[in-house]
Symmetry: D2
Subunit: 261 residues, 4 copies
Amino acid sequence: MNTKRKGENMEENELVLLTNLEHGDSYLVKVVKGTARVEGLGVLDFDKLAELNHGDVYQIASSRFFISKPTLSQSIDSLERKAQVINQKDIPLILYHGDISNARLVVEGGAGSGFLSCAMATAIKSPGRIITYEIREDFARFARKNLERLGLGEVCDIKIGDITRGIEETDVDTVVVDIPNPQDCAAHAHKALRPGGVFISYVPNMNQIEACVQAMKDAGFRNISTLETLQRNIVVTDGGTRPDFSMLGHTGYITMGYKIG
Amino acid sequence: MNTKRKGENMEENELVLLTNLEHGDSYLVKVVKGTARVEGLGVLDFDKLAELNHGDVYQIASSRFFISKPTLSQSIDSLERKAQVINQKDIPLILYHGDISNARLVVEGGAGSGFLSCAMATAIKSPGRIITYEIREDFARFARKNLERLGLGEVCDIKIGDITRGIEETDVDTVVVDIPNPQDCAAHAHKALRPGGVFISYVPNMNQIEACVQAMKDAGFRNISTLETLQRNIVVTDGGTRPDFSMLGHTGYITMGYKIG
Amino acid sequence: MNTKRKGENMEENELVLLTNLEHGDSYLVKVVKGTARVEGLGVLDFDKLAELNHGDVYQIASSRFFISKPTLSQSIDSLERKAQVINQKDIPLILYHGDISNARLVVEGGAGSGFLSCAMATAIKSPGRIITYEIREDFARFARKNLERLGLGEVCDIKIGDITRGIEETDVDTVVVDIPNPQDCAAHAHKALRPGGVFISYVPNMNQIEACVQAMKDAGFRNISTLETLQRNIVVTDGGTRPDFSMLGHTGYITMGYKIG
Amino acid sequence: MNTKRKGENMEENELVLLTNLEHGDSYLVKVVKGTARVEGLGVLDFDKLAELNHGDVYQIASSRFFISKPTLSQSIDSLERKAQVINQKDIPLILYHGDISNARLVVEGGAGSGFLSCAMATAIKSPGRIITYEIREDFARFARKNLERLGLGEVCDIKIGDITRGIEETDVDTVVVDIPNPQDCAAHAHKALRPGGVFISYVPNMNQIEACVQAMKDAGFRNISTLETLQRNIVVTDGGTRPDFSMLGHTGYITMGYKIG
């Protein structure tokens, strides 16, 4: 069941979202035994929390928090970030065009803070797996921590390695790279992919697109396309609806191509 | 396995993508017995096709077609459309913010041509289910045909009904509506959702956002936000990279809110 | 002549732009006699400056400043701002669609900080005039100061008055309003305009557009249109060209219509 | 006066706008003697038209046309186009950042269909002049025809010549080029410009921006910036306000820099 039934308690190690009923701020919390410090919330009495259920209100000092199962975007929002992260306006497009839901094996190049790894590990269906190459041990460790925080450590394996040196896996459905030189990975990706498999790169500069597209063509990819997305919030107030004055002007370009022919 | 091994043949009723190796045009084809007409390709000899495998080339007259497993976006692209469809720049955002991968039960209002139904049915994990309310029998029939074409008929149940009259399901993870009057569904959605569940509406007009957001507030939804997305292709030619002159100026606004408190 | 010839000195009260040759920061300075304090530059010895000419370098302490005639956008950039100002991405469109270059008489509603008044007073040709209605004395005073700073006080007359109560002028080429309730001015504008004259409003909210367009239709305006503009800088570095991450998400919508019929 | 007074007739060779009172379509017409064919309107009886005045209605068959003085944008809209033209969303920005209103001498590279020439010739104040270099005689002829149509032939001189070979003029306020290789003109422009003068290029590709910016830096330009603009119409109908589905995805990038130092 989605939610606990009457009489059922929270499970140990379960992730719950605590949303401040006054301000709407949310905190992702793992249910443990005893007491523990949670950043932004102070020391929580988890034994008390464990007696409650989804839909209940948990009181911390004078603040009231609503307990619920977090959605993917709420979970991602709550992760710690170290490296530059892939924006949440781009993650959905990579999941979609990378066809992660249908994949059995996805290879990722560049773990960053692990945000995309977490999203892909959530979208992929059992027994699908994500293999992530990361050259920096500190990034790998950080990304693994985020994956484990969301209980996704089994699905995504972050290994230390340089994806521009080669891809060990074969029969791969999708290769996604968030590295500065995706062109150095295109031929490896083509070799590793299944027939019809997708290669996706995410880069901020036009020059990187050019180098990547050329390498993709040289490697044999077809139906190559690049897209950029602008996303804007709409502010709705009584009698005054307008786009938000604040907006991100640019993140990265998503380039994709298929192993066809 | 993702792809057929040596010696394995195509399965009956399997969906394959045939991509013209010269032009890159793709056709989604269901492997049947004997011969059958496929729109855009003429009459195909499926017995000959069935002897081939993913990665092979299938010749029709003088055209050569590459055989591969279609991705979700390739499948959606190949569907027939009747009603106005949700754009492929917006579907990924609805899948993501609606947390369809993690859902057990999703209720959809308005089937249209079934594009979003197909995408959600692909993203949701077994034993998750999509229940779609559609008031028009002809749209329901059309959407069902598209679902069945992609082999997703078991996952998504399209029933004739008006979602603004009430939602029968309970403990629902996500309610997504693509109807002109989402405000008339907000209270029903709030009642049907699990604690923390998400309500998403997709409408083209600012006035519809306003009415919907007000109804969502009245119904008790929290952390309500609305976003719009602009997507543009980048054309990469030798020494001449630029955004595409052609671009869609607008599709729909995505409004979302959570059943919190 | 555009620039001073050899032997010519700077004129008193002439406006010059001093651009820091190291950082590129610019300061608009009026050439006076003796010494005076200039914000951001400290106390300047104008007698020394007056001996120099456009194209010369003026040294202040260890900083070197290039002397030139300011362009309109450089002048506007250097003005002080009090109220919310019309963005420099929108001013050009108002000048253009308001046909200020060809106008003899322009009526403006809402002076704000006087930025648009300054731009229109620069674009209009002699003996054209701008009449600006401003209900707040403090805004009027502030805008007048900016106009006088740019030597445009003769061209634009800011008077205290509520443009929604009526427009005294007749045979007006263009009426431009930057007020919260342009709808209350549409009928007055229609009466004041010459045949074929343009009414332009600048508002941030969709609801204001709706009210304004309805009032414009009711007043008899034709060929009504509304446009919004997004502007983004492109960052060009060696081998790394991309849109700026920073961008303004929204300013105002420009609605225009013609007194035709 | 802006408009004819009672008793005054239309002047010979005067340009008037005839707007269809039913559909809103507009036609720019030069008042001649006798009858003449006007594209889209058929043969007009100008003697009859000449007896009317701005604000009057002129009947052609069963269609009624409103007579008014055209605005700049209405005039530009009515011009014939041969080469690719600079978009009306970009012309205002070039006029503004090129400070055409304040200029005495502007040099343009690439006449195209003469749209920008016409707009600059309208914005510049007497006795300012535009000198346009155009390598193709057919484009020059076409642009001249458009300038003369708007009565601007005296202000803008289109001469056959390659602006990348050198600029004869000196003490130029602004150099604007709409050519594929603006980089080849940057040093010439720097030499021709007055101190503080502006160089503006308009190109569709990122690669062209890069080459141009590099050449501008090499030539000594400062405070170089590049901007792109997206413009979208807003459709306002009763209770249904939304951005237009149709939109131009890209036109050209505007790069500017100053002769400072």
